[in-house]
């Protein structure tokens, strides 16, 4: 059975802010099905009562003192912006 339909691929692309042309869409559907089919393998493993690992090394919260330190100045922060007015990042009108 198909794990992910072309319809769902379109929906996920929308969530990921990607536009796939029809050719990409069909290749993506084929490849994701192939990969997700393989992922079924994980169901062979009994994971009841197994806690998930999100971090390989045990780590407590890491805090620093609430002190103001140097940060990137505006000119340098804007230097890579594809479009700015020297003060702001410029985007197409939103509202």
């Amino acid at each position: 059975m198909e794990k992910i339909s072309r319809e769902e691929v379109r929906h996920v692309a929308e969530l990921a802010r990607l536009r796939l042309d029809p050719q990409e869409e069909s290749a993506m559907t084929r490849h994701l099905n192939m990969i997700l089919e393989y992922m079924e393998k994980l169901n062979e493993v009994d994971t009841s009562d197994v806690p998930p690992t999100t971090h390989a090394i045990p780590l407590e919260n890491v805090f620093r003192s609430d002190q103001v330190t140097d940060s990137l100045d505006r000119d340098r922060a804007l230097a890579n912006a594809p479009h700015s007015d020297g003060v702001n990042f410029i985007v197409p009108k939103v509202i």
């Binding site: 992910i4 536009r19 890491v62 939103v94």
Partner: protein
């Protein structure tokens, strides 16, 4: 004296300190070789020749002290996923083609303060996603041992540059094998440290719970030397391990008599290329002859590593790569009239096929209704994989096995089948998921003359033991070492 570009870091340092060679001569030798061979091998995306020559002159004019720091005057290459202030950092992606970072990654700062001379930035799979370097937006790197074959990935540019003597050593990064596998395919030494041992600050994120920076070098001593420079706690990376760094060269020569070397039976099963399997078994015998004790162990969840990794890493990537929106930096589709079109078109035109595939896969695995079945399940299996290692390390000090089930494959051989490409990572992914240090070093050659890598894994923060085992193996097999048949003029 060996040819300048063929020297290891420690040989080059000796020659420089003995005044047999000036830093300018060394740098010029590398630049000349890069100019000649890089058009063919495609290892470097950016060569920082002017700055390198200037740094060299500073040493030769005694404006900088050659004796003061461990890497003084040593020409080093850095993977193009590590930020370098004022030097283009592309991540092998069209979306960052013109990105010039305003700051240095912590590892780059450390290289500079230890006196290294930056030669340039090396090619890689886009955003470090790939095992062959074919996913670079700037063309594939070629394997110096056979230009029709891949150098491995994603740190393929760094691996090939070290193998072809285009730099003394390089930095790579490893998320699921991206240092170890290209090191194996190119016949060099590559070390992925324990997760958190080296700062990730300024490493452009792929999968944040797995990414790690490490040395790619011509021999084990160099790997120890370079690791000693880059390792250590960094307040700018909250996941960096707060544990003092060591001088990893100090313990290299300590005897390995009685060292317990585990052979995970899952790493010695059918399915591995016969020549790789034979070279790995031979390596076990060499260790036994060196006085180590071989122990059979089991890592029963090995076969689930690929599935778990290729859910977890893409899930993290889909989140990390959301930042490429055409607004703050990177490629922007300038004709967009509304914000959604700006996002979609900038991303769709900027990212390559594999990056899109992983963003899609990750987004799907994290989306409502699928999170438990995929992401949560994979994270639970990750726990079981970690436990396998914890148990194995109760019976042994290090583990050995192959790095990759095959030697370097042909360019184009696996590009139509992403799953087949992923399955090739079976032996490197589990240690990544468990956050363990892993090293690859040459242990033989196929009949076609391709290098084969041996993988040595250690427990958390066990780099010194891994390096010691590797050093003894290297010393015992030194006479068998070959160099790639790189044409002197390409």
């Amino acid at each position: 004296m060996a040819s300048v570009t063929h020297m290891t870091i420690h040989e080059l340092r000796e020659a420089l300190l003995a005044k047999k060679l000036s830093v300018s001569e060394a740098v010029r030798a590398y630049l000349e070789r890069i100019e000649r061979l890089n058009p063919h091998l495609c290892c470097f995306l950016t060569v920082t020749a002017d700055q390198a020559l200037k740094d060299a002159r500073d040493y030769d004019n005694s404006r900088k002290d050659l004796t003061a720091s461990p890497l003084a005057g040593v020409p080093i290459a850095v993977k193009d996923v590590l930020c370098t202030e004022g030097i283009r950092t592309t991540c092998g992606s069209k979306i960052l083609e013109n990105f010039i970072p305003p700051y240095d990654a912590t590892v780059v700062t450390r290289l500079k303060s230890s006196g290294a001379v930056l030669l340039g930035k090396t090619n890689m799979d886009e955003f470090a996603m790939g095992s062959s370097n074919e996913n670079s937006a700037f063309g594939p790197v070629r394997n110096p041992w056979d230009p029709d074959r891949v150098p491995g990935g994603s740190s393929g540019g760094s691996a090939a540059a070290v193998a072809a003597d285009l730099c003394a050593a390089a930095l790579g990064t490893d998320t699921g094998g991206s240092i170890r596998q290209p090191a194996s395919f190119c016949g060099i030494v590559g070390l992925k440290p324990t997760y958190g041992r080296v700062s990730r600050y300024g490493l452009v994120a792929f999968a944040s719970s797995l990414d790690q920076v490490g040395p790619m070098t011509k021999d084990v001593r160099d790997a120890a030397l370079l690791l000693s420079v880059i390792a250590g706690h960094d307040p700018k990376d909250s996941t960096s391990v707060d544990h003092p760094a060591e001088d990893y060269t100090a313990a290299l020569e300590a005897p390995i008599t009685g060292l317990r070397i585990g052979m995970p039976k899952e790493y010695f099963m059918e399915g591995t290329d016969p020549e790789v399997a034979e070279a790995t078994s031979k390596a076990c015998r060499i260790f036994r002859d060196l006085g180590a004790e071989l122990v059979e162990v089991s890592l029963p969840h090995t076969e689930y590593g690929v599935a778990a990794y290729y859910i977890i890493a893409p899930a993290e990537a889909s989140s990390n790569l959301a930042r490429y929106d055409g607004v703050k930096y990177g490629y922007r589709f300038a004709e967009a009239r509304d914000l959604m079109t700006l996002y979609k078109e900038s991303r769709s035109r900027g990212f390559g096929a594999e990056v899109k595939r992983r963003i899609m896969l990750g987004t799907y695995c994290l989306s409502a209704g699928y999170y438990d079945a995929y992401y949560r399940k994979a994270s639970q299996v990750r726990t079981l994989i970690r436990r396998d290692f914890t148990e194995a390390f109760q019976k042994c000090d290090v583990l050995i096995g192959p790095v990759s089930p095959t030697p370097a494959f042909k360019i184009g051989e696996k590009t139509d089948n992403p799953l087949q490409m992923y399955l090739n990572d079976i032996f490197t992914l589990p240690a990544s998921l468990a956050g363990l240090p892993g090293l690859s070093l040459p242990c033989g050659y196929t009949s076609a003359g391709l290098p084969i890598g041996l993988q040595i894994l250690g427990p958390h923060l066990g780099e010194a033991t891994v390096l010691k085992a590797a050093y003894h193996f290297e010393q015992a097999t030194k006479t068998e070492r070959q160099t790639p048949p790189v044409p002197e003029t390409a």
